[in-house]
Structures are given as C-alpha cells and as structure tokens.
Amino acid sequence: MPTLLVIPMSLNKTAYIELPPRGLTLQWYLDYLADPDWRAATIFSLKIALATAVAATVTGTLASLAIVRGNLPGRNALKALAMAPMIVPHVVFGVALYLVFSPIGLTGNFSGFRIAHCVLSIPYVVITVTAALERFDPALERAALSCGATRTRAFFSVVLPSIAPAVAVAAVFAFLASFDEATVAFFISDTGGKTISRKMFEDIDFNLTPVIAAVSTLMVAVSLLLMGSVELLKGRRET
C-alpha cells in the first residue's frame, strides 16, 4: 500500500525541515530569537490563542449545553449555525471581516483577532463538548436534583466535572485553531499587529530564509505538545 508511505512521509518531511541546509547548526533558531519582528509576532499569536481558547471554550460550552439540553425549536439550525464557520470559505470570511473591521480600527488589533479566531474555534469546541454531553447520563444530574441540589449546584458539582476532560480538549483545539490560523490572519493583520502565521506567510512568499524552517519546527513542536496533552486527557476520560 503506497498510501501508507505517503502519510508517514508527512512526518518525515517535518524532520527534513529540521535539517539546516548546510551542516548542523542552531543559527536559525538564534536568528529567530534575535529578530524583534518574529518575537513580537510570536507573543502576539500566543496571547490571541490563549484569549481565544478561554473565550471560545466558555461560549462554545454554554452553547453546547443549550444545543443538547435545551428545549428550543430549531435545534438543528442552531447546530448548523455553530458549525458554519468551518464550512464558509476562510477567504470569504477574512475579506468580510476586513471590510467591517478596517473602518473601526479592528485590523491588526488584539480584539479584532480575538473575535475572528473565537468564531473560527467555536465549531471545534461545540463538536467536542456536544459529544461529551451526549454521552453523559442525565440520570446522574436528576439524582443530584432529587437530592435537593439546585440546578446551578448540580451543574457545577456533577455535570461539569464529568465533561471537564472534554472541555479541556476543546480548549486545546481552540488554542491550536487560533495559533495555526493563517487565512483570516492574512486579511486582518496590519504592519503593527501580525500573528506568527501571517509573518510566516509573508516570509515564505518574499524571502525564503532558513529561519522559516526553525519557526516551522517550533510550530510543529507546539502542535505535538498540545496533541500529546489531548491524548493524556483522552486517556483520563476513558478510565
């Protein structure tokens, strides 16, 4: 099966980027660390991703509760709306955001990015948390309620702890979705505020330096680290 070779190749390739073109050196990593542009972009990206993870997880978890437990008509329409940012082409979303954000100074701006990335991350949160809520046995909550717990109390001491691993996984996905996001960032960045992926896109297009390989490796490392933590959380959820 040749395909089995194609998939691990994607892993090999990242290993190839790790190889500096001329001999082994850490020069590009030092270059990356020394460059104020790269540093600023990295910190900006991390801040946005963190803020996105928090906001998207809270918003998405609340919405998932409403979708799974709510007694509203149009439940499927709601679910479709929550998934829509995954379906709508990101170019279209990026252009639309630029159109609206640019006149009110939200481009290259922390709040602008937070809104955009939050919208893009919510589908991942809703998928993850909805699945966990559907697995959760409502009898447990009913038991808590019949023992005299208020709805809020029952939620925080029974429902939330049991879906907590899924919520944590959702937060990791939201963080990664924001950190890796490049298309929308391309449109709503400006010279003052750009994310690491926007800076990378620019450099790949205009000056293909080996520093990009170093940055790529770091980005892969971040993804791997976070995916590893997801695996740990998943393991905990199953026991």
């Binding site: 509203l72 252009v95 955001l97 890796d180 896109f201 790529s216």
Partner: protein, 302 residues
C-alpha cells in the same frame, strides 16, 4: 444524524401528564436562550454581519444591480478561474479518496501500537499548520529540492524539472493537507460496521475481495460521501496552499479574491466573487446535507 432527540422531547412537553417523563436534565426555553446569548452575540457581530455586508456590497452600495456578476459571467478569464477551482477541488477529492481509503481501512482494523502509530500519522498533520505543510512542499519541490536531486542523481532526468508553482504541485500539496478530512469520516464509517457481517460473508464462501466489494465498501459509503463533501468544500475555498505553491497563472477563486482586495483594491468585484464562492459552497452543503455530518467526521479526532 441526531434528529431523533429534538422532536421527541418537543412532543412530550405538549402532554402535561408525560412531562415527568422528560429528562430532568432538560433546560427551559429561557435558560436555553441565556446559554446561547454569548454565541448569538458573537456570531452576529463577528460572522453573520460581516458576511452579510460583503454580499450586499456585491450588488453595489450606491446603485443596486448585477454589474459585478455580469462582468464575471461575460469574462472568460473569470469563468476559467471558477471552473479551474472546481476541477482542482474535484481532482483533490478523488485523490484524497483513493489515497485515503486504504489508510482509513488500516486505521479501522489496526489494534494496539499499530493503531496508535497510524492515528498519530493522520492526526499530527491535521493539527500542524497548513503553512508548515505548504512550506515543506516548497522545500521538497524546488529546483534544488529533494525530489529534483533524486531525479537527477538517479539519471531519470538530465536537468532539474520545474515542479514548484505548477498545477501539479498545488494538487499534490492540497491533497496532502486535506487527506485527514477524508480519512477520519471513512474510518468512522468502517469502524461502525459490525465485524459479523464480513465474517458471515466469508462463511458463505466469499473471498476477501468479494467480501470487501459487496459488504465493506457499500457499508462505508456514508463515510466516503461525508469525506468527499468535506474535502471538496474545503478545497474550493482553499487559500494558503494555492497562494504559496501555485504559480501566478494557476489562479483559483480564493487567490483571485485575495488579489482583488489586496492588490487591485476592487472591493465590489471581490465581494461578488466571494458571494459566488459562498454560494457554490452552500449549494454543496444543502445538496449533500444528509451526507455531511461534519460533527461525526471530526468527532473521531476527539
């Protein structure tokens, strides 16, 4: 699909006597609305309004009309871009399916360590930046890249070939990027087939090929369908990979829209192109809604 739960509970609440039978975990309408508020506010400001503005702009802000659309329909160049976008997406989808199906089969069947290795091989690329993966293809395919070095060293070609900035490079890189979206739903579908079916077929004398063709393949079709629709939708809107790996003559809808907004600054025209791209995508979603349970496909990631 999860259509079963909603109507059932809705009809139950209409009968006061049966209300006790609704799960205590159900929330009333007002609480549900409160929970939904943050999402509704965020999506109204950050999603629905901007896209609505863009669509309205495409019909002309000052004098409403179809000027932009007429221009697109009357220019062979733009129609060419649209058809190239669709055909590229179709090729990428077919390639993802033919390359991804065996991987999905292996992933569904593997146990223990092998399962972990295959899962990692599918999931790690999925969560690695599209930029990194596109960059990797640039490194591989450039004139002095690994592929050309191999071709020249092995004597297959006399001089390095132009591999990068071609349609082939775009298709290759896009297939690589989108394959996980094919593999995951197919794997899910394959896993949900009870192994007894294949066993029964075999005990009735079917060979492994016949078992696959007549039992496994037909039963996995919903997953194949979901994967194809997902791949196709993502491929027609793809920007990063075509912009980096593709040549200037290999324009897609996405790169054309970006060019119109960042270089040419023709916003109404870009808005019209965006609206068409949006329409094509939404048409796919509506037509294949039954197949496209996005949540099921990505679900297996979690």
């Amino acid at each position: 699909m999860d259509t079963s739960a909603a109507p059932k509970s809705g009809s139950l609440t209409r009968w006061p006597l049966l209300r006790a039978a609704t799960p205590a975990g159900r929330y009333g309408p007002s609480l549900t609305l409160v929970l939904l508020m943050p999402l509704i506010v965020l999506f109204s400001i950050g999603f629905l309004y901007p896209i609505g503005r863009l669509v309205i702009m495409s019909f002309g802000d000052a004098a409403p009309g179809l000027v932009q659309y007429r221009r697109i329909l009357a220019t062979p160049l733009y129609l060419g871009v649209l058809s190239r976008t669709i055909s590229t997406a179709a090729i990428v989808t077919v390639l993802s399916l033919t390359l991804g199906y065996p991987v999905a089969l292996a992933m569904a069947r593997a146990r223990g360590r092998a399962a972990l290795v295959i899962a990692a091989a599918v999931l790690i690329p999925l969560w690695t930046s599209v930029l990194v993966r596109s960059y990797a293809w640039i490194v591989l395919l450039q004139r002095s890249g690994l592929v050309n070095a191999f071709l020249v060293d092995s004597g297959l070609t006399a001089a390095p070939l132009k591999l990068l900035y071609t349609d082939g490079a775009v298709i290759l890189a896009m297939t690589h990027v989108l394959m996980p979206f094919m593999i995951l739903p197919v794997t899910n579908a394959l896993r949900s087939i009870p192994p007894d079916y294949a066993r029964a077929a075999r005990s009735l004398g079917a060979g492994s090929f016949a078992t696959f063709m007549r039992i496994v393949l037909p039963l996995s079709l919903p997953g194949v369908f979901a994967g194809c629709v997902m791949c196709f939708i993502l491929a027609i809107g793809f920007y990063i990979t075509p912009a980096l790996v593709g040549g200037p003559e290999a324009m897609t809808m996405a790169t054309l829209i970006a060019q119109q907004t960042t270089v040419v600054l023709d916003w109404p025209f870009a808005a019209a192109l965006s609206t068409i791209l949006l329409l094509v995508t939404l048409t796919c979603v509506v037509v294949f809604r039954r197949a496209l349970s996005v949540s099921k496909g990505i679900h297996s990631v979690t």
